[in-house]
Amino acid sequence: MTLIRNVRPYGEGAPVDVRIEDGRIAEIGHSLTVPEGAEIIEGNGDVLLPGFVDLHTHLREPGREDTETIATGSAAAALGGYTAVFAMANTDPVADNAVIVEHVWRRGQEAGLVDVHPVGAVTVGLQGEKLAELGGMAGSAAGVRVFSDDGLCVHDPLIMRRALEYTKALGAVVAQHAEEPRLTVGAQAHEGAMAAKLGLTGWPAPAEESIIARDCLLAQHVGGRLHICHVSTAGSADVLRWAKNRTPDLAAKAGEAIISAEVCPHHLLLTDDRLADYDPVNKVNPPLRTESDAHALRRALADGTIDCVATDHAPHAVQDKDCEWSAARPGMLGLQTALSIVVETMVRPGLLDWRGVARVMSERPAQIAGLADHGRPLAAGKPANLVLVDADAEWTVRGAEFASIAANTPYEGMRLPGKVTTTILRGRVTAKDGVATEVKVSA
């Protein structure tokens, strides 16, 4: 039994106490009596939110355990306030079959700090040519409900149509990395003034927007569920707004939105101005774009056009980042900085309140992925997947101090607002005051 004292659900009203029993919220009220032998967590007036859910995480196991393992990534997730993460399929070997997804699922359970849900590949080997055994992965112990070739776009329109159709029978969603490959051959940076100055091949915004438009039309045509990964341009927000408003009847019939989308913290905060010194820590795909894109993405997240925030947490080894720009791997760490970036870009400017943060970081991603036990209301009887946030705290980012093995954070040295103080998974503390609960991992 656990008692959390002195927290403010959704940052609203006077502080209350929360009693947790058998992994669920048993009671919420003022000055609850301390049950015999209960573990006490002092909330100190922190904001209480449902535990965060990340639809887009690269945990690198199997294949690149030198940069991240499921255990270290789980610790990073817990420290970032997450209670569930979706591990992308672009591992080595690729998570395109039941064996690999079950392996990832079990390793996550062993670590026990966060629910690690493997994302299954849409196509065999992420090659974009032949559907992977989606039913096999859905029916496995991992119960895969999100499929993605992330890192690569399912660019063949017929394969994408089939994926959107076929997954209807599985209650699953296809998460698309929207990047028209013919328009991004050799692309290294957002196509615009900075890329022109630096002599980097441009990654044009329409390469993303055209795929989003195509796939929204396909999803609505076949009634399949589409999720757009890491939306990065103002035009993409416009396309999504149009598509979501287009067939409200169809969406209502399906009982849930057919189209959803995520935005990454780095696209909310950072712009391609940072590329001037060619430091590949700023290299990511889709690339950092412009100030006006970042502002459009913030507005789209605030008004619900973009449903949620996802990290695209992408650990990389030093040698894959401390090199020339074109040789560097794209991606940046995100799990331990996501909340603070959302506070910086959305909460402080007044675009989101804490209920809004709960929506974009927990409730909507849980709904999109079909998680029944995450992103639930803070109410008696609901699962105790929770996060406590010190809204007023500020901290300085040090990549070397993160739980991840890799340290490739673009926020190094930045002072950021909002700090996760405690994360609770099914009533158990998984991270507290910057320390993740120790895990026993089998060799």
């Binding site: 290294q188 196509e191 615009g192 003034a193 900075m194 890329a195 022109a196 100055k197 630096l198 002599g199 980097l200 091949t201 441009g202 044009p204 010194d277 060619y278 430091d279 040698q319 401390d322 090199c323 020339e324 720009w325 074109s326 040789a327």
Partner: protein
């Protein structure tokens, strides 16, 4: 001056300082049988070329040797580079081996910036001898030196840069330097060979070469690389040549005093008619000649102490 990575890093004073030094070196060496100055005696200059280049590498090597520096050439085919060593490790090796200056040519834009990042602490100067599509600042300096010889002060001089702007490091460096020197620069190219975001360069972009010929003090032609010709940037070499090649008819429309530059290697018949390339109003061999003096001047400004005289 610590490194020369971008022509944009040079103030007008710094650029003119290099150009004046270059002119002075040229005069000093003119007619000398022994072309050797003691200025950089005991200094080690390493050229590190990850791309094939004859004129730039030789030009730097001669420049270093005429200044009495010890010049060592490393090329990607002949060193551990072909064994897959990282750029950073190569940089640290060159530092440990005692380089005072590393001159780098690399296919990746920004490679010189990264090298400077790794080598600054060791006090080693980096000269960008061409990085991907980004910049080639010494080419811009030698072009400016050549133009000054023919046209005098470049303030207000009308200069057109013609051809593949998108992929050209020569164009980027020239736009920056010529603007710093006060020239009136315009770009002329098919729209597919102009980068998105070129507006920030603050120079006008045109697509019709013929409309500008009679108004120019200089034409700077850019190389059209073979792989671009098959990349769909324009329909055919023939059509490019018809629209943007400097043929004899176009050449005749230029004012008498106008100069023609080309960074080489030239595609005769396509970018430039042979008769134009060989005309005395074309300064292509002057560019190569001035390249040595300009690079001597750059090495001097980077490596020689304040008290030393040329």
């Amino acid at each position: 001056m610590k490194h020369l990575l971008s022509a944009g890093d040079l103030t007008a004073d710094a650029a003119l300082g290099i150009l004046d030094t270059s002119d002075e070196l040229k005069r000093t060496l003119l007619g000398r049988e022994v072309k050797k100055l003691p200025t950089l005696r005991g200094r080690t200059v390493i050229t590190c070329f990850y791309e094939n280049s004859t004129r730039t590498r030789v030009s730097f090597e001669v420049a270093g040797k005429w200044m009495s520096a010890d010049v060592i050439n490393v090329s990607s085919s002949a060193s551990s580079v072909s064994k897959g060593e990282s750029l950073r490790d190569t940089a640290l090796t060159l530092a440990a081996a005692g380089a005072d200056c590393v001159i780098v040519r690399h296919p990746a834009s920004g490679a010189a910036h990264r090298l400077a990042h790794w080598l600054s602490e060791a006090g080693i100067s980096v000269v960008n001898a061409g990085d991907g599509m980004h910049e080639h600042p010494t080419q811009a300096l030698l072009d400016a030196a050549t133009l000054r010889e023919r046209l005098g002060d470049l303030t207000g001089k009308r200069i057109a840069i013609v051809g593949d702007i998108l992929h050209s490091r020569v164009a980027r460096s020239n736009v920056l330097l010529l603007r710093t020197l006060g020239a009136d620069v315009r770009l002329i190219a098919p729209p597919t060979l102009v980068p998105a975001g070129v507006e920030e360069w603050k120079v006008p972009v045109h697509h019709d070469l013929d409309a500008h010929l009679s108004d120019l003090d200089a034409v700077m032609l850019l190389r059209v690389q073979a792989e671009r010709m098959h990349g769909g940037f324009f329909p055919s070499a023939r059509e490019y040549s018809i629209s943007y090649g400097l043929n004899e008819k176009r050449f005749a429309k230029l004012p008498e005093h106008a100069v023609v530059l080309h960074p080489g290697p030239m595609l005769r018949g396509m970018e430039i008619a042979s008769a134009v390339a060989d005309s005395p109003r074309t300064a292509i061999t002057d560019q190569v000649r001035n390249g040595v003096h300009v690079r001597m001047a750059v090495l001097y400004h980077l490596l020689a102490g304040e008290e030393e005289k040329v």
